[in-house]
Symmetry: C2
Subunit: 141 residues, 2 copies
DNA sequence: TTTTATTGTAACCGTTTCGATTACAACGCC
DNA sequence: GGCGTTGTAATCGAAACGGTTACAATAAAA
């Protein structure tokens, strides 16, 4: 199964805040029109990014700002902020038969490999800071 | 979102075939009782592994066998056999606004990083052959 | 103070995916 | 022919997602 689009929407959201924050107030409606999804989806993601300490959102008056230094947070931080993958990446069948030698040991055999695979993914995501993203974006617009 | 348990069930299935194939005929019912899921789930996974050329399944008489050399297929092969992740790992919002400079470039900016992250995951999975798994399992049972 | 714009959140919907389950035709062996 | 097994269709309930409506809470402007 695919990882939900919340991650790429969050990236798009942060790129919008970065790009337009000097020109205008960045509301959920504004971001929603760039991402092309419902504003409530954006508000939920803004909430997650806020909880992660990456942005702050002005209630009432409106507008979102990035409060973390661009070089100090990575794609992994953003991913973990919006995707409740605190658990494991790989789902596991719940009740292998303990009376079977294989069922009894399937976790012992596999867990290490699954953990390593997830770590490889996360490590790669953590190599890219949001500053890298802004520089990349700057070349294009 | 989590990757479905099909992958770990497929691993468990192959470990069962490897462990018990000299003692008995390995039917979907037998595997199902070790994994503790419905036999139809196992048959569907056996079908995927068969399509991938990893096993063969005897229709009628019953029984599954591994036909690929243990050292020549990896966790990645098994993963790709059962998880229809031929597409991309990361879902993407479908219609970013082309009139917005960010919406117009979000794919250009992100695709490379997402591809690299997925490649890191797949590369790690491809480092472990099924032979490694059998050796690991052999130490435990 | 009233109005206006915005956020935060609850509630509900339709779609999709997953594993569970039933059912049964196709198949191969005894 | 009888039996056990596979392959597969069909259906189900649960869970996750994005979409959407609605509205109280909030802050600033009028």
């Amino acid at each position: 199964m695919q990882i939900s689009s919340r991650f790429t929407i969050a990236m798009h959201t942060l790129m919008c805040i970065y790009t337009f924050n000097k020109e205008q107030k960045i509301t959920s409606d504004f971001i929603a029109s760039s991402v092309n999804v419902n504003p409530v989806i954006i508000r939920r993601i803004l909430g997650s990014l806020k909880d992660a300490g990456i942005i702050e959102v002005a209630r009432g008056s409106g507008g979102a700002k990035i409060i973390k230094d661009y070089a100090t947070f990575t794609l992994l931080d953003i991913f973990q902020a919006v995707d409740s993958l605190e658990e494991k990446l790989f789902g596991f069948h719940e009740n292998p038969n303990p009376k079977c030698p294989v069922g009894r040991n399937v976790h012992n055999v596999l867990d290490g490999y699954l953990t390593s695979a997830q770590a490889a993914l996360e490590s790669e995501l953590s190599k890219t800071t949001f500053k890298d993203i802004t520089e990349n974006l700057g070349k294009l617009i």
